[in-house]
Symmetry: C2
Subunit: 681 residues, 2 copies
């Protein structure tokens, strides 16, 4: 049996197993004398586990392990390349090697399926059995542990990684262990994952596709809730709460709608040890939950408009690769559902809400968006038309749907019989109400994070950041007397207290066990917008040194201007984040009139505005024709993106002028409008 | 076959079917000439459907139908009493009768099981088939429709119900159709249901045990959230969000805990049309969801205390009779979960939180509570001790658990391995953290409603009421000129606007299509704390007439004192609600030292403070020995209560002095403390 087949015959089945747990096999080459036989280190870990080089060094007693190049794979494992490598090749090993196994694998059940590469799927049980062949070389490592202090080579090894090795890995050269070790521009999805987990925004959860929102992200959601809630209440919307469960009978009432959601609906079929007589669904959205009651409550046109909103969670059990905030099986959102007497009244509200959604992105999250209408193909299932705010992620060049506000017309009101007496009198036919629904989810937090954060960690816009400023006493050395130290501390505490009184969300860190440098890195990682350093020189000059998280620009602020300058600096930072993101979106939104320029512009990480005929078949043709071929161009890091064709993102409200006789960018039909296309999330 | 068996042989099974849909069969006798043969009206309806007499009159063309007395059952149906009646007795009918069938029954599936009485269960399909025997007499009625205007006898019939008939029914004599038609003191659970649905707090939902929280109740929840959230944040608690789902592996980790919840856990086993490889549970509470991550996040004692809270919904699929707010399969709550280095620190927090819970009840909801500790039998499964605030419902004389704050000790931290280095140094053993969890749910809204509301509708304490004051223009008659009308309206609008500016949640109703009387009833039903009437005389005297919802007391307020007096009146009303409820609780909390006085005091709708030995077996003995026998005493209306024994509610922190040598109220052992016992929810 060939090495390639040694695992394949253990593989669970030929086809791809959705929901399998991805496992990576990495090979490192430690620093050794040129003449010595190399002893490679093979690391087998959950895809989600970060395996820092210092820990690998510490666990194997080696020095400066670096990701091995293809030559080592060829000479040592008879394997063509790093990319082709799986643990099957361990059978080919030339000589001795280290095998480090991620302790996190112990949390996986033996019957769970692991994904070793795109085609190789194997149960955890079989995998462990296979690895046991190499028991003498193997060691289980908890990669989440801190490196012990005597692992002196740890830091050095990382710092010393030569550029040559970095070219094959996305490791950041001077990254400290607690910091981000993956470069945003080289491995965007690895970076995104680290930024979220190390920044303590979110943690991975043991039910796939579900994530924990930790306080730094949840508090962003709370800010958004307050802002948006105030605005919709001013519009006369009231909050309510409808049940989590829907009966199948009701769920299936609107046909197009249920077709859109059915494949992702989670079903409760058991309670305790008894089977339910009739399974109940968990709401994927609440149209069908709510509208039977709208039919009951709306008796007269005087009951209109009825405007309800709820802040809740919904479940869509997607089988696609989950991604924190962007594609999760449970997510938090608000869903507004309103009923109106007239079409005009309903349509007006659709756009008011869309403006508020744009406000959440632009005013709170400093994320520029383009407002527009979805095409027929992309609109909400069962609705009449969908409006949307669309964002842009520069690193991947992909568009991302921000939030949608739908006009449902009378489709649902006819299905659910939501009608009122005609205001013209009882001789006139009853009127079915005109409905809207609109939703904004925690996805916004993911978009915000992807756009602003950097290789030092999170960057969070001040208006939504849980904390806006950290105050640190600095300049304390061995020579500092106790009295001086106390003075430095007390003046920092005074600053903290004045800021809080001025309404700035500030805190101080007065722990002397950590150096200022360690603290700087820590709060940069967490994205605190302003760092205020107060040392002996600052105190002498009656000032404080302020460092902006986004660009590390230093400013000194006179203490008697503290209460005015700090809020100003926060607003300046907020604005600068927005302007920078806007500049990137604007410069990557290009007008393309000829198909020949379409794909090349797409490949330059642009979204594209093109004249378009408005025909669904043409839209599908554009998508297929723009799928990226493996033409030797560098692949994007995100595993979903590379070969994706361009979807229609929206028909922007703000339209370039259409020239007379302008044809569709793809087909020969006349263009009716410009449409924004792009690869997308 | 006897009449009694005619349905029994169709019955689905001998034993009781949990979750069956209760159906009522009522018989009404319309007003007829003494000499005429009576034509009774039989109404078959879902238990939850209200069947107003005017609608019955309208649907049958009869006058003033009243609930029939036992004599009619005996003479007409050969059935002993109203209580024994089921539709089976229709087979015995002396002569012609009307049969009205609730349209809502159409929403029930043929395979669903109906509960006709405590022992008779039948599928909807069989039931309909049986009723079809009486097709010629039968009519389907939508009892939720409004009575048409030409049903002139409707209002009269209700108003004219003589006291004699009212004695057998709980109908309120002068109830208007839109108002409450059930007397709080005669049919508490019927009243409770009406008050909630007609007051628009809540609606029933088509998944049993789930309810819709409409804006008036959800806004109360929002007030509670703001108040409590501010206080816990001041204690250093941060909000977060953990997933809805738990894997069975994690759920089952703490044994006592899972035993407590397992029978009520809802399981998701399918997504779309595929079976999940491993079913996932919906959280019944989040200890096991959260603590594996506490183990991961808490690395050092410097990470302590960790204090997280979440506002979410949990699911406990109870098979007991559901009751809005009090026992529901999904409910909203907050759950706080904290980890501490020391027992003392944890225990201190348990009590701080309990004080905040008491604050929610007493300061916001005007509901007095008794703080105390739960007995070993009643404490939280898996915890060390549970503290609680206990309320009291005067009409039923039952205690009700308000909210609980648990100290978990190290039970969970040992199971989930949540530990830190010993602060004394690495030579000392690791320390498992000390944990608390605490929760307060939407149950509070039910308790508040039961206590304050009355036969006119809801009474909502001003501090939590969605609206605090309604402004109504009054005194407009046919003689009023258009100019005068405009002046009355504009002065009312002026009052509304001034109140809003002063921070009072006020609104006005300027609709001339409804009379002031209709509006009075409407806003009394909805429990708006203050009604401000502004008529010509008020305007002349530069004043407004204010009516308090709780006691209908009238006060005049000079317009130049509007902004100070209205907030004062709201606070006075708030305080008066509290004092009245406290007086009732205090006067029904009696000290009983001798067992001979125990049950008689319980039957007087008291809760009881008794010296107690603290032994679980004795507690169980007390419960059994105090179960109410069917001794001819009037049953309470609530179907769960009548035969219930007294449970321990709590061991109050505030203790009567224990006399030396005092024995337990039940057994011969020495008493160790006073314990509060009562029938309970």
């Amino acid at each position: 049996m060939s090495v390639e087949n040694s695992l394949a015959h253990l593989s669970v089945e030929d086809k791809i197993v959705e929901g399998a747990i991805p496992v990576k096999s990495l090979v490192f080459k430690p620093k050794t004398a040129k003449t010595a036989t190399p002893v490679p280190v093979v690391v087998v870990a959950l895809q989600s586990t970060v395996t820092p080089a210092p820990l690998i060094a510490q666990s194997t007693g080696t020095k400066e392990p670096r990701l091995a190049r293809d030559e080592l794979f060829q000479s040592f494992f008879k394997c063509e390349s790093a990319k082709a490598f799986t643990v099957a090749y361990l059978l080919n090993a030339e000589s001795e090697f280290h095998l480090l196994i991620d302790k996190q694998l112990e949390t996986v059940k033996d019957s769970d399926v692991l994904k070793l590469n795109d085609t190789l799927f194997i149960t955890k049980g079989e995998f462990v059995k296979f690895l046991s062949k190499f028991e003498s070389s193997q060691k289980v490592v908890d990669f989440s542990q801190e490196v012990s202090k005597d692992a002196g080579n740890a830091k050095k090894s990382n710092a010393a990684t030569p550029a040559a090795a970095a070219a094959t890995s996305a490791a950041i050269e001077d990254a400290k262990l607690i910091g981000i070790t993956v470069d945003k521009s080289l491995d965007f999805s690895g970076w995104y994952q680290q930024i979220l987990t190390k920044g303590e925004m979110l943690d991975y959860y043991d039910v796939s596709g579900c994530y924990i929102l930790r306080p730094p992200s949840y508090s962003i959601w709370e800010s958004i809730q307050r802002w948006f809630d105030d605005r919709i209440k001013a519009m006369g919307v009231q909050n309510a709460y409808f049940p989590l469960f829907v009966s199948s009978r009701v769920l299936e009432k609107e046909k197009d709608h249920v077709e859109g959601f059915a494949p992702e609906v989670a079903w409760v079929t058991k309670a305790g040890s008894s089977d339910l007589e009739e399974p109940v669904a968990i709401r994927p959205t609440s149209e069908t939950v709510m509208y039977p009651y709208y039919a009951k409550w709306i008796r007269s046109y005087r009951d209109l408009p009825l405007k309800l909103n709820q802040w809740n969670s919904v479940v869509r059990w997607e089988f696609k690769h989950p991604q924190p905030f962007l594609r999760t099986r449970e997510f938090l959102w608000q869903e507004g559902h309103t009923a109106h007497l007239t079409k005009a009244d309903a349509e007006e509200e659709v756009l008011q809400i869309l403006d508020h959604y744009a406000g959440v992105y632009e005013e709170l999250l400093a994320v520029p968006v383009v407002k527009g209408r979805k095409t027929e193909k992309e609109k909400f299932a069962g609705g009449v038309f969908t409006t949307t705010v669309e964002g842009y992620i520069p690193q991947t060049g992909r568009g991302i749907q921000g939030a949608t506000s739908h006009h449902l017309g009378q489709n649902f009101s006819k299905m659910f019989n939501v009608s009122v007496e005609n205001p013209l009198g009882p001789d006139h036919p009853k009127v079915n109400v005109f409905q809207n629904s609109w939703g904004l989810s925690t996805r916004v937090i993911g978009v915000m994070t992807m756009i602003h954060s950097d290789n030092k960690g999170l960057v969070i816009p001040p208006r939504v950041s849980q904390y806006q400023a950290v105050v640190l006493p600095v300049g304390i050395t061995k020579k500092t007397t106790e009295e001086q130290r106390a003075h430095i501390h007390s003046s920092a505490r005074e600053i903290e207290s004045r800021l809080k009184k001025a309404g700035v969300r500030a805190f101080g860190d007065y722990n002397d066990n950590y150096t200022p440098g360690w603290k700087f890195a820590q709060y940069e990682l967490k994205g605190i917008p302003l760092r205020l350093e107060s040392g002996p020189k600052d105190i002498e000059s009656n000032q404080v040194t302020v460092v902006r998280r986004n660009d590390f620009r230093k400013v000194t602020v006179k203490l008697d201007e503290l209460e005015t300058r700090i809020p100003e600096l926060l607003e300046e930072l907020q604005r600068d984040l927005y302007l920078r993101a806007k500049e990137l979106f604007d410069s990557h939104r290009v007008v393309v009139n000829e198909w020949k320029d379409f794909v090349s512009n797409l490949n330059k990480k642009n979204v594209i505005l093109s004249p378009w005929c408005g025909v669904t078949e043409c839209e599908e043709d554009i998508k297929e024709s723009s799928a990226k071929r493996d033409d030797g161009e560098e692949f994007e890091q995100d595993e979903k993106a590379p070969s994706m064709g361009a979807k229609s993102l929206c028909i922007p409200f703000e339209q370039p002028e259409l020239k007379p006789g302008q044809k569709c960018v793809k087909c020969s039909h006349p263009a009716v409008q410009y449409c924004m296309f792009g690869r997308s999330y």
